[in-house]
Symmetry: D2
């Protein structure tokens, strides 16, 4: 097994044309990198090309600087957007919460079980309630209260903490505040949110009660990147569970919690493993 | 095994109060009917009681007329809505179609395999295309073209056929016409429709393309009783299937077809077996 | 809403005959009990009748002693096996664990979230590792080491703790020891176990590796009552999750953990709510 | 959109080594072929490399003969097993059936709906019952009765028909005969079978009854390539559906039919699209 510090992942998107696969493969091969996984997708409607390449650096015949320069050269020539993630850098996560603890516990337990390749740098909350949970897992907890008047100041304080801690990715683990447009834009494609979803969709408050009143037979959850347009960001993962007339509103809430945990964890894992590409308001997930 | 002609099914709904279960059970027992299945539900929010009782008539000590009179008496005293279905009467079905054949084939094949306890009395279509399919299964086919000017006349012609054929239930098996308010009202809770459903919901035309553009990870289908408010009728059954960036619009359409068949067939079977109660815009499905 | 202490649940099974529903409903009604939910099933092959009745005691016209005596009288006359659970008595749970913590955490978190109506009386383990987890939730933890020579003595020690704590139900939350025949028999239908399951089944050790080698496309988990015949007890709940050639053995193990949590929690909740009846080596789950 | 006759698919498997992706991509690029989709997998345990490349031939700068020769040269040098499928050749299918019609109807309807890119060359059956179904779809039907004494002769007759019709792939659509070892070996990885599967597995006859008796909560179906070891061939697809104590044996059979159709159709589609690679008794499905 290759040590994860000897791995790297390259994510690429660009207008489709001939020779893209060959030029990247040739570049990696020429530097002695060994491709372990390559997954590719072409959107025939958008005429866009997407690729994820995971490769082994342990037998590199040049060095990382030279390899990155060569990739930059090819990418420039082919008009590629690209992102290179080195395995020796674990992503640093911030988890935003309010009062619900189920997603926080779930993420921290999975992290401890080795399911999530990242550092959990800190937990930020607008309420003090979940400080003991963070403490159990030795994760710094920051209580940053918020109201309409202090919203931007609170976000600025949060952002200072994020920068100081070298955070790469923010997880909104049932954080019950709407982030400002500016904050969302600065962290574009780096904030993952989880929310319930229903067939049909119920806009507004208390959706589980409305799902109950409508007699739906399925309830769902969606994980997506946060955008200014709330709940309209690129979808990373979705799942549903059956329900029936026997389910009370409380049962629906309970089933919703279970879904939220599983769906959020999947989205976070795929993001951490650089499996998600965003374009045109949607995602390619190389799972 | 009891012959199905010796079975009957009683469906009851009423405001909740004490003694409902006992009074019905006592009535059936007093006439020699043997309860085979009884399923009950109380909606604690609406304070409503629902029950489905399936019973065996083969050892009735009185007769059907006396039994029905006794049930009517109890129901009146307890302010029950009730419906009694005798097993010797198979429901008579009309299937409305346009050009898509997948749901029609699916229903006719299931009927022939003995999955659907009903008579398929006739197929009505606004296009002639599917006449050969009906012919293969020896089901009368009626071509009733329609346009904006002839809508009410076409519905009247359809209704005459339905009445003449003694139809109980209409299945809209991808019938691409909106029924008039009057028609829908006259057949309330007796028309079952199938349509696609998505998370989030896409209103308007070409939903599979919009689901593709939005990058959804699930697509779904919903079977419901038709109401004037299109696609807002009481939901009988829903299901979803996974999709990904690899699915083209055509793939989504294909997956949608598979879902529509399964979901519609389940809804039809439950309706035919008198398992569905409608109240307050939703259903109780005793499955 | 009725306080749960004013509720009771009656579970009944017996050879099928006429009048069973009526006699029980009449008895409850005659004492002023209000039936909230009644679910019934008849197995036409075994000719057996099963019923679960949940009822409200708040307007009882007699008292609990008189009601229980009346039920006993009817049950005797009708040859019923029966079990009456009073809502004011919460079941007392013992959780057996070894070193895996995911099911233990899951149960304790669900209990704290109010999903499981029970007291968690104690945790028993053959290893000391999970003592801190129990401590976080203020649950007594007992370390009872075991080896081939001490097995019966260890079980006796465990049983003494169970009796002293008034335990009703044992959950084997990934407890990696086989219980003796005597212990299993004494706690028949009161020990819930969780284990992986595969299509096809893999007997013996390291099943996830063998599932990987066989290239299965689904892996599953089964919760069942423990019997002497290991993994052959009455099945309470099962679920599966998709996998593919991309899943390593470690991925399968991770997916298995998620399944085990969800499936075990469902089985425990149904058991605690007296929804499960065992007969002829299988279950009726009134869900 | 590229016409399908201008597409080709290359499937490759070989021991893993550096430069595999680059050498194939370079070869295709050098001949003017445009890679539309490339999916790759490395099995780190078996140290094996697998790749599926779908490419567009419409702007080939050489010709098909030269391209195939170049691929052969690379494959030889890299010790690759390879298979090249030209889009202008539709695979030719034989469907083997006995008396059950659900899978046959399902495949023929999907074919007519354009879901399956193949020619259905003929239907072979050991019973005459389904001749009318084949006739409805204008597919030649051959009745080849079989018993223990005539087994090899019947298979020889079938094989003569298959060869005469240029058949590539055989679908056992609920064909209730065990094929001989010789026949199976000659058509290795080209016969797709569907069978029920259960948790736990039930060996022997009447599995739905045994699943009923055991009270399983899920039933499943598995599509696999046929091997001499019956039901032990490489798994292509699996799915399950929930069941409960309310399901009779007949309900389980009905649910099983629905599963069989969906699972078999998926396996056939993936095979026809050259998405399935077999190695070490299992499959890689590039879906």
């Amino acid at each position: 097994m290759t040590a994860s510090s000897d791995l790297a992942t390259l994510l690429v998107s660009c207008p489709d044309r001939k020779g893209l696969v060959a030029s990247l493969a040739q570049t990696l091969y020429g530097h002695g990198a060994n491709i372990l996984d390559a997954d590719q997708h072409t959107d025939p409607v958008a005429q866009m090309f997407f690729q994820r390449i995971r490769f082994d650096l342990s037998s590199l015949t040049t060095d990382r600087v030279a390899l990155e320069a060569a990739i930059r050269e090819v990418a420039g020539r082919m008009h590629m957007d690209w992102r290179l993630a080195w395995g020796h850098h674990e992503k640093r996560l911030a988890i935003f919460v309010s009062r619900y603890d189920h997603c926080l516990y779930d993420l921290l337990l999975r992290h401890r079980a080795g399911e999530l390749a990242c550092d959990v740098a800190l937990v930020i909350s607008n309420h003090p309630d979940l400080a003991p949970v963070a403490a159990q897992f030795d994760v710094p907890f920051h209580h940053l209260p918020i109201d309409a008047a202090t919203k931007l100041a609170q976000e600025a304080a949060a952002e200072a903490l994020l920068v100081a801690a070298g955070v790469d990715t923010i997880i909104l683990a049932r954080y019950m505040q709407v982030l400002s447009e500016g904050f969302t834009a600065r962290w574009a494609s780096r904030i993952i949110n989880i929310h319930h979803s229903f067939l049909p969709a119920f806009i507004g408050g208390n959706p589980h009660r409305r799902a109950f009143e409508r007699g739906v037979k399925l309830i769902g959850a969606t994980a997506h990147y946060a955008t200014v347009d709330l709940d309209e960001g690129p979808i990373i993962e979705q799942a549903v569970v059956r329900c029936s007339h026997r389910d009370s509103v409380e049962d629906l809430v309970r089933k919703g919690r279970d879904l939220e945990k599983v769906v959020l964890a999947a989205a976070v894992r795929w993001h951490l493993e650089d499996r998600v590409l965003v374009y045109a308001g949607k995602t390619v997930v190389f799972d």
